[in-house]
Amino acid sequence: MVSVNKGSKVAEVLIVGAGPSGLVAAKHLTQSGFDVVCLEQGERVDHGSYWGDKPEFELMIQKRWHPNPNVRDLESDYPVNTSESDVPILMYNAVGGTSIVYGAHWQRFMPSDFRVQTLDGVADDWPFTYEDLAPYYDEMEAEIGVSGLGGDPALPAGKGPPLPALPIGRMGRKAAEGMNKLGWHWWPAPNSIASRSFEGRNPCALRGTCRNGCVEGAKATFDVTHLPAALKHGLRLVAGARVREILVNDQGLATGAVYIDRNGRERRQLARAVIVCCNGVGTPRLLLNSKSSLFPDGLANSSGLVGRNLMLHPYSTVVGHFDDWLESWLGPAGQPIQSMQFYETDTSRGFVRGAKWHVLPGGGPLGGPPAPGRPFDEAWGPAFHQNRDRIFGRSFEWGIMAEDLPEEANRVVLDPELADSDGIPAAKIIYDYSENTKRLSEFHLARAKEAMEAAGATSVTVRGLMTDRSEHNTGASLRATGHLMGTCKMGNDPRTSVVNQWGRSHDVPNLFVYDGSVFVTSAGFNPTGTICAVALRSVKHLIADRRNMKVAA
């Protein structure tokens, strides 16, 4: 039996998901006087439970603090079937969402990212431009406390990050020297990691444990940056609330959601409007699970595009090994420097669009788990020591984040058999690298190898696109990226998009999507900065337009 949430009144706005976009929305709505309930399937994270200041750190990030939910396998996670995907996924289910384990690369997209059809004849243009979004980038950078250096010639002139850049260290300097020899672009990278004390956060101390729990309290996670203000202004946060479906009335308006609490009870939270912020996998999963007589194919899905156009940012790296002692376990990780030298389209290369590069530290001596079946004499015995002497403290990588163009065949569907621990059908990902991605990756790997050699690397290790799907659910995919974007595309035409430029469903006028699902294209940048800027733009429009919003009675 479904019971109405004890003591709950009908909320003005129900937000599903307390990750970055959900908490940006919650903060701004509550500050504007809205009565808001936020349902989050995960729990609050005890930042004291991180392992970054303990000797077992490298061991624990291969399981408990792994960014892939299928590896962590926590009760608060839901399984995702990636057996038909070339790329594993990255997400964390908790208050704060994936910001708990993200790398804190706080990027802006470039102007061309919003005009790929006009400039390159592929995919679609976004319904707004870089210039339209720039004020929201500025505001989010100020809210988050981004550290970086203004004036990057890869972006239009602007305010620049509010906090000084983090040090680039020996690794960043070594990489930069190589880029200078080649005449290629590099720049001290922007990180959502405080370089000085900022609104309750401590300054970074370069532990290099950013992606698996920042023990310094320097990395911006949204349970720290946005939740307190939202709670202060009246947000009702319900953690451990796993939403099964969005409810609709006879008029086709959203009326709330059914969720399952951690005692296994089904509950109902009613609301006049619903904002879904469950990420590029969780949002289409929830909408597809919200079938009704009015919406037999899932909610907001008249276009048939809910779940389609999944983009995951295929990732490849070139690791350089140097004679110099680089202390390459140090942070930020995070990123010391980045390059957009090969970001823009040059069709003579045989592909369109490009990739952002970033330097990442080599990490500690344990590294990832050993590859099963590696020839014995290459891994063990004297080779164990020789490998470490060659790599540890002397290696870093150029990570290559390829722009992933939307293709309808790459998609999130409901798995016919797999379900989460509450019996809710799980998501299955069907995703293949495109030919453009393969060519792009091959080109960029060759250039990154040149960059490493110019920097003085004595040897390089090239790690191309992941091809072994059997590694998806093991710690072996520790560094693999799977940003989740595109599965509820925004646009002006209801036939070819799921939501409008403000994140409002074309089909259900009081249903909104604010997470990375709405991305029209993926760009080649880490997405959280743009997810938040777009969410901020959307929620500010909702607030300004509140009197005109059609709501459930």
């Binding site: 077992e56 470039m110 005009r115 006009t118 431009t129 010639p153 200078n180 164990f384």
Partner: protein
């Protein structure tokens, strides 16, 4: 010795660990830094997801000549040998003596001075990038 695994498997682990991580130059063999003692129990307690595979691999090697058994396991059950290697490596690299020998202080704090001038601005490292100017394509038209 008692603990999370029995004495026979523990002895097997230590013997195999010395094959995987032998003495080399200044570096000690695994057994000499107590990888089979308290560190082993701590690792298997923290990572109980490894236990089943770990024990399976050790059981297959128990009572056999260590190097031959380890090489054979790498062929017959590579996942088990990899798990045993991970546990041995983790115990080895958490040892303070080993950390000191390889120059690794752990993921230690390295406080920064955010107001210190950046070297790359002072010594001109970044200047060529600045001098080359913009590298982005501007928005071709403004939204209406």
């Amino acid at each position: 010795m008692s603990g999370i695994i029995d004495d026979e498997l523990r002895e097997t682990f230590v013997a195999v660990a010395d094959i995987l991580i032998p003495a080399y130059g200044a570096m000690p063999a695994a057994s000499t830094v107590d990888v089979g003692g308290a560190p082993l129990d701590r690792i298997l307690t923290l990572r109980d997801d490894l236990l089943e595979t770990f024990i399976r691999g050790l059981a297959a090697m128990a009572g056999k000549e260590p190097e031959g058994a380890a090489r054979a396991l790498n062929e017959s059950d590579p996942g088990a040998l990899a798990t045993i290697g991970l546990v041995a490596s983790a115990a080895y690299y958490m040892n303070p003596r080993v950390m000191q020998l390889i120059g690794y202080p752990g993921q230690e704090r390295r406080p920064i001075d955010p107001d210190a001038p950046s070297e790359y601005l002072q010594d001109g490292l970044l200047q060529p990038v600045i001098d080359r100017g913009p590298i982005y394509r501007p928005t071709p038209e403004q939204s209406t």
